[in-house]
Symmetry: C2
Subunit: 549 residues, 2 copies
């Protein structure tokens, strides 16, 4: 046995796991080699394609106590391979096009290992040293990507102790919460007679400034993390106002204006207007310049949630889609989405580097006043050196590398939409903006009838089509060859009837047109097996007089 | 050049970084091998010992734009080695005893690489599958470690969709915020005439229940993240009430009672009482049973912040120090502290599995109602599979392995305190509870005098000693052989005069007694070089008549 032995409890055995590496011919050593040499091969070999029911998987994970005795690394690794890896999700498969996790570049794996080996803690310089300026540099580059200020600006602020161009976060949710936290604390700031909301609390802040409540305005396509943010920050989910969208899933400025006027008339105050910079479900982008104008007009904080879409700024071809983002006070971008970095790399950017004063905090043994410790300006405390992976991805791929990835993704999405349109039995529900689109299966013989249906007829047919879409999506996932996700939309051309759709995200550069064709064919095949769902649908259609026998 | 070439922008070159692994003889391949075979050797060889001033390091990280063109992985890796790794912190060095980051077991490095290779997203089952039950299992085991409920309890709740025994978080700060978020939402919960704070917001909740404000009570040794939590949640930092501690740095129950009565008399409501389960600065543990009693008496939520100390529960020898923790409503434990897991593995545990209803949220395309998606019950959204590393550490080391680590750390700290006591020119400021202690250097010739000094004399001497302590700590850090941290305490026996102290955390199993002796000797040597600081100190002592020439 070449494993570092640790299945005994002794001082000597214990020290071994800290001092003796895994041997290359140990189980873990072999896994590592396989990962390094052929990640796709490793995943293809070890992940079981056909889905095991969750309740069966749970059987492997139901021991309720910390195991008493140590275990050999090799035995434990075998267990992980058979029970965890085997039933995990092949997120980097080019046929896994349902969510935003895609294949990652190879070089990030060894770098991630280096990150763990270094185990820096970014909360303070004493445990991160060069990682602190590196993180500030990454935030500076992303700030430039959005705001494009001149060199002098970055020379002045990038490494300034009392300022921050942004904050690294574990993900987009914390980034969005941070942005609204900053906005809230800036609005209810200290003055001669008030110590500020950070000190006095929200209720005192509202009372001092004479507002009944704060509201945050975002389109009905806003990400669910915003409701969480409204809850956490004490604003209340009810005060996150969902504004209707137009037929292109973009926020309606007229409705926004109406809603904001109503808030003011009721004694409330609009804290922030949020622009969606790539909707999670459809990829659509709000009219950011109009939102910026209106936010300025009513003195509201303007935040853009570009967690997904932000990377598009690296494409000269498509950058214009996000025009207006540079007028945002704060912007969220996730590097673990379209920047192809592993999970755990969110960012929020601050247009004004002194904004973070609103959330600054210190402690005696770390993040002292005047230090450059990043912890003074982040919601989180101890954090890993994920910024290194972002930095490396930016350097190895370069802006032009990202541009190629993004341009190709968008082209692929457009091509897929075209392909769907050519099918007699599928329909596009939302056209791709960025590389996300939605569609559904509709039996060929009712395609025409449904186009001509009345609102009442649509109301009666849709539940049947929804059931069919759900069935196809689940079955396809369980079969394990490919994966698309599903969501529910309110399409204007179907009279805003809640409509279940397939949702695809075409970010994986290894996805080919042939694979997309196969995915449609597989869905068609599954649909043909859904006898009873189809029967119910056709019965309904017949009863409505929309088709004949 | 055996690197996968990507310093050109073409479709073909781009696909290479996604499909062709780093060659074993590439720069990154060699680094990885070195990391695998000899992490300490790698770090010792590449991290430059003597500190480079931060402003010089910043020169390497000041480019303000995303680089335009791609770069060879090997060139970029060389850059990282020379500019980032060289000037990072050797946190796993056995002489780095200033913070809570320690050496990690070897097997976690390849497992971390596996985690990145799998790139699961724990927000939902569709992108994590077996990782979801695994994470629930880890939370169950930690819940059992704290609450020790019977098997039936865990059978019933561990994998229940609408329940959670805890939540994985990026770190202790998010864990503490989550705990207080749950507490806040439970207190201001929905009733017949109120939709609840989550919906209506904090101000409406206070108004409905007739409270002027909420307060959170914690000893003056509470972690700084709690002030952040009070700010984020809208409670206000002022309403985080710092309760004085006794001579052992434990919260004074009489003062707590007084403070809570004052809150009630002012029309406020005590939301939560927080017990410190291992103070960050001193390792001390509050009298948890008394806190539990009192929290129960006044109907406040009882949270224990055991981010550092929680792992002590795995030691039969020392578990009793945390007696009473099982009465807490919520408990924070960080696996990246005394559980020897890489950065990014915080946890909050819920005594009652249905508590999370207070913060539950759903969305159409993920975390749907009735799903087991973890995202419904966490503050964060997309998250990596860190739970696997915790799970593996628990299994490979076992409870008894951890017990050995913890017992040895505490023994080592006691031994170090003894060693300090034997020196003529050092004094212990806080005795070790757990493996943390604080001390300082005091020139031998004034040791006796300072013991007998009056409060006024202490007030005049202390700033000089503080300056000396600061000088020694900084110089030692800059020299790069070893690192202790420093903080400021209010020692009872020095009349609560703000006193700067060295702080050590003896968690690294590779730290030896000989190293601790060397660290003291190095501090003594540095002190002897601090001529002007010593001169000023002695002048003051002479003027006060405490020493003679």
């Amino acid at each position: 046995m070449s494993d570092p032995v640790f299945a005994e409890v002794s001082q000597e055995a214990l020290l071994k796991i800290f001092t003796i590496p895994e041997a290359p011919d140990s189980t873990l050593g072999k896994i590592e080699k396989h990962l390094s040499e052929n990640l796709m091969g490793f995943l293809g070999e070890h992940i079981v394609a056909r889905e095991k029911p969750l309740h069966e998987i749970e059987q492997s994970f139901c021991a309720s106590q910390v195991p008493e005795s140590p275990r050999y690394v090799s035995d434990h690794t075998e267990f992980l391979l058979n029970n965890l890896v085997a039933h995990s999700v092949h997120t980097s498969s080019p046929r896994f096009i349902g969510h935003m996790t895609s294949a990652l570049p190879y070089f990030l794996m060894p770098l991630a290992k280096l990150m763990v080996g270094l185990n820096q803690n970014l909360v303070k310089i004493e445990t991160s040293k060069a990682f602190t300026p590196l993180e500030r540099n990454v935030l500076g580059m992303l700030h430039h990507l959005v705001y494009q200020r001149d060199d002098a600006f970055y020379q002045r602020w990038m490494h300034s102790a009392q300022h921050s161009l942004g904050a690294m976060c574990s993900g987009g949710t914390v980034a969005n919460i941070t942005a609204l936290w900053v906005a809230r604390n800036l609005l209810l700031k200290p003055d001669a007679n008030f110590a500020g909301i950070a000190n006095e609390g929200l209720a005192a802040g509202l009372a001092h400034y004479g507002y009944k409540r704060l509201t945050v305005m975002v389109s009905e396509r806003g990400h669910y993390s915003l409701a969480k943010a409204a809850d956490v920050l004490g604003i209340g989910r009810k005060n996150l106002v969902a504004i209707p969208t137009d037929e292109h899933n973009r926020i309606r400025i007229d409705k926004l204006r109406e809603a904001c006027e109503k808030v003011a008339a009721d004694g409330g105050r609009v804290l922030a207007i949020i622009g969606v910079g790539g909707a999670t479900e459809t990829g659509h982008i709000d009219p950011l310049p109009e939102l910026a104008d209106y936010a300025e007009e009513i003195g509201a904080h303007f935040h853009v949630d570009a967690a997904w879409g932000g990377a598009t700024l690296m494409s000269s071809t498509h950058r214009h889609l996000l025009a207006g983002v540079e007028r945002a006070d704060t912007v969220t971008i996730d590097a673990h989405k379209q920047m192809y970095v592993p999970m755990g790399a969110g960012m929020v950017l601050f247009r004004d580097p002194s904004m973070v004063r609103a959330i600054e905090h210190h402690a005696e043994y770390v993040i002292r006043h005047g230090s450059k410790d990043l912890g003074a300006h982040t919601m989180e405390g101890s954090r890993p050196g994920m910024a290194m992976l972002v930095y490396s991805a930016l350097h190895v791929m370069g802006r032009r590398g990202y541009e190629l990835l993004i341009d190709q993704s968008i082209d692929k999405a457009k091509h897929f939409a075209e392909l769907i349109r050519q099918q007699p039995d599928f329909e596009v529900i939302t056209d791709p903006k960025l590389c996300i689109l939605t569609y559904r299966f509709v039996p060929a013989r009712m395609r025409q009838a449904i186009q001509a249906a009345t609102p009442e007829q649509i109301r009666r047919i849709t539940p049947h089509l929804n059931a069919l879409t759900r069935f196809i999506q689940k079955r396809q996932r369980e079969t394990g060859n490919s994966f698309v996700s599903r969501t529910k939309l309110l399409p204007a051309h179907y009279h805003r009837e809640p409509t279940v759709v397939f949702r695809v995200v075409l970010a994986n550069p290894l996805t080919t047109t042939a694979m997309l064709e196969e995915i449609l064919q597989e869905q068609r095949d599954i649909a043909s097996q859904a006898m009873s769902l189809r029967a119910a649908l056709f019965t309904e259609m017949r009863e409505l007089g929309l088709i004949r026998d």
